[in-house]
């Protein structure tokens, strides 16, 4: 899932200026992250109205990153959108850009910061799991990714700052290399860590499109 964080309302206000504003949310990731579901869109609507900023309407796209779906859903809101000076999108960076593509003349305001591709641990606990590098190495490390989960992206074992299973940059963060090591030890596969992993092929991370 794409994990997002809502920007501060003050920052959003700065971008929206005097409005009027049309609000867009997303039914998928932003809903699960509580950053751009119906609940959050209605909450922000209330806040704008308190500041006397007119909200011309709102919609939850299903999901925001689906170009054709968006076009279809937004058609029925076209009058409300035409009344708005700004369109505030509470979705991931992808969803926001899909909307930008459809309304290329309007001011699109991003209401979230897109953080990472991660998993939902618990209701409000999200953790990074993938860097979208284009060249998956998970089978080398027992299904655990040191590229997305080690701040130094180390492929040949932990740095000297791994202490008691924690990462040197943040003691709340587990050292992924500590986890990889104990995982492979339990499976009797520590030999996997003996081979020197060659420099990563980053050319695969710059694919800009894919047509099926």
């Amino acid at each position: 899932m794409i994990i997002t964080r809502q920007k501060n309302f003050e920052d959003i206000l700065c971008s929206v200026e005097k409005g009027p504003v049309f609000l867009i949310g997303c039914s998928e990731c932003a809903t699960l992250c509580h950053t751009g579901g119906e609940e959050e869109v209605l909450a922000i609507k209330k806040k704008f109205e308190k500041k006397n900023i007119k909200v011309t309407g709102w919609v939850i796209l299903d999901p925001a990153c689906h170009f054709l779906n968006d076009k279809r859903l937004l058609k029925s809101h076209i009058n409300e959108i035409n009344l708005a000076e700004k369109i505030l999108v509470l979705a991931c960076g992808n969803g926001i850009q899909t909307v930008s593509e459809i309304f290329d003349k309007s001011d699109i305001i991003s209401g979230t910061d897109t953080l990472f591709l991660g998993e939902i641990k618990r209701l409000t606990d999200f953790q990074r799991r993938c860097s979208l590098c284009g060249d998956c190495l998970l089978d080398l490390f027992g299904g655990l990714c040191p590229i997305s989960r080690c701040p130094k992206e180390m492929l040949n074992g932990p740095c000297g700052g791994s202490i008691k299973g924690k990462c040197e940059i943040n003691t709340d963060l587990e050292c992924i290399w500590d986890i990889i090591y104990s995982h492979l030890r339990e499976k009797g596969q520590l030999n996997k860590l003996k081979a020197i992993q060659k420099p990563k092929d980053w050319s695969k991370s710059i694919e800009m499109g894919r047509i099926l």
Binding site: P151, K152, L155, G160, L190, I196
Partner: protein, 305 residues
């Protein structure tokens, strides 16, 4: 290798090596390095010039090395993977070799969050083991990481790496050293030794695998200058292991500087006795002037011995 750095000579002749660290200034004044180096002439076989250590911007290690070379002192250039990708790293290795740098120590680097530019984007295109292997291939095979051939002059570099015998997962630490040796390390400088027991356990494993015959290990020594520094290193510097008995000694000391010196003196005497330790690497943070006394009184002077 057709060339021999002084450090290489000392180590291959079976002599006990001494290296010392010179931290470049937060500024462009070459005299800071010159002054520090002048105090250390004759005290060490080669001098590490750090590469923006703890991610704080300082005069570049390549320039620091150039300043030492002009003084006829032998540098060990440090290169970190944090700030440069494989293109810049290989280019700097060629450039260093061209101006006469003959030892380079390759490290992954302290994370940028610890430094004075925590907003910076870290590079980490390579890790230290990959970089060591690349430089060995540049030197011995004349090829770049891409497989492209070097046209005019393989870099003549004695390759160094670091090891932290105190970090976790502890059982993996010798495996990681072995990988660094397989990648091409000629010498290893360790994290500062304070916890002798742990260091001995690590060295036992190093010897039992015969790794001490494949690489020269230099034990890190850091004289503690004050209780403040001790606490900073014990509680805030990742990967440093200062046992409580040393911390207590420093806390109780009437003259912490003298106590710190004595602890370092004892540690040097102890690590000298450990089979497989081929030298020491002294990092005297903001206390470079103590190095000469330490080297002289531990019987390591004049160099080499």
């Amino acid at each position: 290798m057709d060339f021999r750095s002084n450090l290489n000579k000392v180590l291959s002749e079976g002599k006990f090596a001494v290296t010392a660290e010179i931290g470049p200034p937060k500024g462009s004044d070459a005299n800071v390095i010159i002054k520090k180096a002048e105090n250390l002439i004759g005290c060490a076989d080669a001098f590490n010039i750090t590469d923006n250590q703890t991610a704080v911007v300082r005069l570049s290690s390549l320039s620091g090395c150039s300043i030492l070379l002009k003084m006829n002192l032998e540098p060990i250039m440090q290169i970190s993977c944090r700030d440069r990708n494989r293109i810049a790293l290989q280019s700097d290795v060629l450039g260093a070799s061209a101006i006469g740098v003959r030892n380079i120590l390759f490290i992954t680097g302290d994370h940028q969050l610890f430094g004075n530019h925590p907003d910076a984007k870290g590079v980490y295109d390579l890790d230290s083991i990959q970089l060591i292997q690349i430089v060995k291939n540049m030197r011995d095979e004349g090829i770049f990481q891409s497989g492209d051939r070097i046209i005019s002059g393989n870099p003549e570099i004695y390759i160094g790496g670091v090891a932290n015998p105190f970090a976790d997962p502890f059982n993996y630490r010798v495996d990681r050293l072995e990988k660094k040796i397989d990648a091409g390390s000629d010498f290893i400088q360790t994290q500062s030794v304070f916890n002798l027991d742990k260091f001995n356990i690590w060295m036992d494993e190093v010897r039992s695998r015969g790794l001490d015959t494949k690489v020269h290990i230099l034990a890190g020594i850091t004289p503690l200058k004050s209780i403040k520094m001790t606490e900073r290193m014990k509680f805030n510097v990742p990967g440093v292991d200062i046992p409580d008995h040393i911390y207590d000694k420093m806390k109780k000391a009437e003259d912490p500087k003298k106590e710190g010196y004595n602890i370092a003196y004892d540690l040097i005497c102890e690590v000298k006795k450990i089979k497989g330790v081929h030298g020491i690497h002294i990092t005297a943070l903001f206390w470079e002037e103590i190095i000469s006394k330490l080297v002289k009184e531990t019987g390591l002077y004049p160099r080499p011995i």
